[in-house]
């Protein structure tokens, strides 16, 4: 390293480099440019490599990130994409149905559809159309999965009893929760149908599936003991305030009275991660990024998705408390808790939701009543 001033330093020069120093400088400049090109190339390569994964990676996927609440994919496209094995209606079943319909033009022992959807469903043909479209299509099963083909009216198979209970649950949940979702004017209203939860499979929501897809089921930590299910004891006990109708499922943002501890916040964050995976959206789909507690963003617009999510948490609570214990699952010990992913499957509007399904009427005395009449929280609106 040179420690003496250059003897031939030009007058007024601030810095003069000898050949060795100049050579080093040239090398450094070349190296910088070369490294930049290599890094840029690696970035482009990584982008090209992962581009194909975009369609399977629904977090913040642009194809689901829509505030208008428009269904971005239908159930058939979803079933195809997920390669769900759907069993078509068998020829034997159709033959048996034709014989049954000829012998019984009016329905025999139909208990639910005619109550909720009207007298049209006292006709065997109307009921058959509903069964083919919603049951067979939604669960991906043929008629003999539930029915005795010699006697369609009999309740011999436990699956038929379960299906009947689920039908009551579907109509009751539509009436109570879905029809009351707070939404802006012009946003379409969808209905739950069999496909909304079943997504082309008769048994689709079980603990084996939970073990293979922890993020979808709301477990953090990759299955390690540090884990949370969406509906823990605290959430199951939370009820709207009887005076104000306000509900606070997760007390997160502190006030002077907030109890000490961060566990509630950790728990809430896990729930939020679940919701991002379940709907395929980022945090700012529901939240104002500057202040998560707010329902408004800085330009004054209202965050409808946050209000809707709050309403939906109440619905999932209702499913777990009132309906899961009563639908008579064939193997209840294998069934996982309901949660957001069960229906949403990575989309803002569930692929299995329908805006063409017939709207059920309110039935004053349904076959299955809720175990507890959970009040709907007062909706948050602008």
């Amino acid at each position: 390293m040179s420690t003496q001033p250059m003897e031939d330093t030009p007058k007024g020069a601030i810095a003069v480099y000898d050949e060795k120093q100049a050579g080093i400088l040239r090398l450094e400049a070349f190296g910088l440019v070369a490294v930049s090109i290599v890094v840029l190339g690696l970035v482009v390569f990584a982008f090209l490599l992962t581009k194909g994964l975009a369609s399977t990676y629904t977090y913040r996927g642009e194809h689901t990130y829509n505030y208008a609440g428009i269904q971005m994919t239908d159930i058939n496209a979803y079933i195809q994409a997920k390669k769900v094995q759907v069993q078509p209606v068998s020829a034997e079943a159709l033959t048996a149905y034709n014989a049954w319909a000829t012998a019984n033009p009016k329905t025999v022992n139909v208990q639910v559809l005619n109550q909720y959807l009207g007298d049209d469903y006292n006709n065997t043909g109307t009921v058959f159309n509903y069964m083919i479209n919603y049951f067979s299509g939604g669960l991906g099963v043929s008629c003999e999965y539930c029915h005795n083909l010699q006697n369609f009216a009999a309740y011999e198979l436990p699956q038929k009893t379960t299906a009947k209970n689920m039908l009551v649950m579907q109509f009751e949940v539509n009436n109570k929760w879905i029809n009351n979702v707070p939404r802006p004017q012009g946003q379409p209203l969808y209905q739950i149908q069999c496909a909304t939860c079943h997504v082309g499979a008769p048994k689709n929501w079980n603990k084996a599936l939970k073990a293979s897809n922890p993020a979808a089921f709301g477990i953090e930590g990759g299955g390690l003991p540090v884990s949370y299910d969406m509906l823990d004891e605290q959430l199951l006990k939370t009820r709207p305030d009887p005076q104000t109708g306000d509900v606070n499922y997760y007390k997160v943002t502190a006030t002077k009275d907030t109890p000490a501890g961060l566990n509630a916040t950790y728990r809430n964050q896990n729930q939020m991660y679940h919701q991002t995976v379940a709907l395929g959206v980022g945090c700012d789909f529901c939240h104002y990024g500057g202040y998560f507690a707010s329902y408004y963003v800085e330009n004054g617009s209202f965050k409808w998705p946050k209000s809707q999510a709050r309403h939906m948490i109440g619905m999932v609570q209702d499913l777990a408390i009132n309906w899961w214990p009563q639908v008579q699952f064939p193997a209840p010990e294998t069934v996982a808790q309901p949660n957001c992913y069960m229906c949403h499957r990575g989309y803002v509007v569930p692929p299995g939701a329908s805006n063409t399904a017939p709207q059920p009427a309110q039935v004053s005395s349904p076959l299955i009543k809720p175990l507890e009449e959970l009040p709907i929280p007062k909706p948050v609106t602008p």
């Binding site: 390293m1 040179s2 420690t3 001033p5 601030i14 930590g221 990759g222 390690l224 003991p225 540090v226 997160v252 943002t253 502190a254 006030t255 002077k256 907030t258 109890p259 000490a260 501890g261 961060l262 566990n263 509630a264 916040t265 950790y266 809430n268 964050q269 104002y288 500057g290 202040y291 998560f292 507690a293 707010s294 329902y295 408004y296 800085e298 330009n299 004054g300």
Partner: protein, 304 residues
């Protein structure tokens, strides 16, 4: 002190306990060692080893003592503090007790290390500026792990021991206290952090720039500045209008670094007892770009 120096000078076997790393030539002093052991150093190391043992044992328990899982899941493993229900009490081992033990030994090991640095500085007849500045960093650690939890009444307010646990704590802490970006002490701390980076880069580059003028020996230049120092000072006077001296630049460095740590500690301490929601504070302070209704002083209109 004199007898201690005598002992060192006569104990050649200890002075010779050193080796050289040739590849460090040009980058650093190639000599490694001798390392002073000392009582405080032994205590610090032993207590730190206990901390590490407790934490790693906790990790192994979580993966069922599976070494493959241990390696694979290491970034997400954590030893968590007790749940809020235990408050500041001693918790059972499996419910935060391990965290309490690990944190206790970690705190003591840090304090013993501080004392070690202090004792070596005094033994070398240095001013104790290094341990004093280290105390600022310890203040930040204490604020997060001890002062804030005690002021809030629950160890659960402190972070767990683990890579992911630290990140999760930072996120949750910010969310609970209304977005830490709006905490003014956090703002000052970030200024100190980034300012330290800037200052270190400026100073390092400046010293390297004057090496060709043999002005990189800073202590010599502080006592008697030569052409290299003058040229460097001229550079900064031209660039930004003022300059430091060979001594004052290091004072600047300490000041900005200490500001970063002390402000950060105060930001954590004040969260909760003084201000539970920093975003609402920012609304009241008028620094939030919220929806303010004209003609109103109602801070609730800032953001509902």
């Amino acid at each position: 002190m004199a007898s201690e120096i005598t002992r060192v000078e006569s104990a050649d076997w200890r002075i010779n306990r050193r080796f050289y790393l040739k590849f460090l030539e040009g980058l650093a002093d190639t000599q490694i060692g001798p390392l002073y052991v000392g009582v405080w150093g032994i205590f610090a190391l032993v207590f730190f080893a206990i901390t590490v043992f407790v934490i790693l044992f906790g990790y192994l328990q979580q993966v069922g003592y599976n070494p493959i899982l241990f390696v694979r899941e290491f970034p997400v493993l954590s030893v968590e503090p007790p749940p809020p229900s235990y408050g500041l009490k001693l918790a059972p081992l499996a419910e935060g007790g391990y965290w309490q033990i690990a944190t206790f030994f970690l705190t003591l090991s840090i304090v013993f290390w501080l004392i070690r640095i202090w004792s070596r500085a005094i033994a070398n007849r240095l001013r104790p500026t290094v341990p004093i500045v280290f105390s600022a960093a310890i203040f930040l650690y204490a604020a997060i792990y001890i002062i804030h939890p005690i002021s809030m009444g629950a160890w659960n307010e402190a972070p767990g021991h683990g890579l992911r646990a630290q990140l999760v704590w930072a996120n949750a802490f910010s969310i609970k206290y209304g977005n830490f970006y709006y905490n003014p002490f956090h703002m000052v701390s970030i200024f100190g952090l980034l300012g330290s980076c800037l200052l270190l880069a400026m100073h390092g580059a400046t010293i390297l720039a004057v090496t060709r003028l043999n002005a990189h020996r800073e202590i010599d230049e502080a006592e008697n500045s030569t052409e290299g120092t003058h040229r460097a000072q001229l550079l900064w006077r031209w660039v930004m209008g003022f300059n430091a001296t060979a001594t004052s630049i290091h004072t600047w460095a300490i000041a900005i670094a200490v500001v970063s740590m002390v402000a950060g500690a105060l930001g954590v301490i004040f969260s909760g007892p003084v201000e539970p929601d920093w975003f609402q504070w920012a609304c009241r302070a008028g620094i939030v770009p919220g929806v303010i209704q004209p003609g109103t002083t109602n801070v609730a209109a800032c953001l509902r």
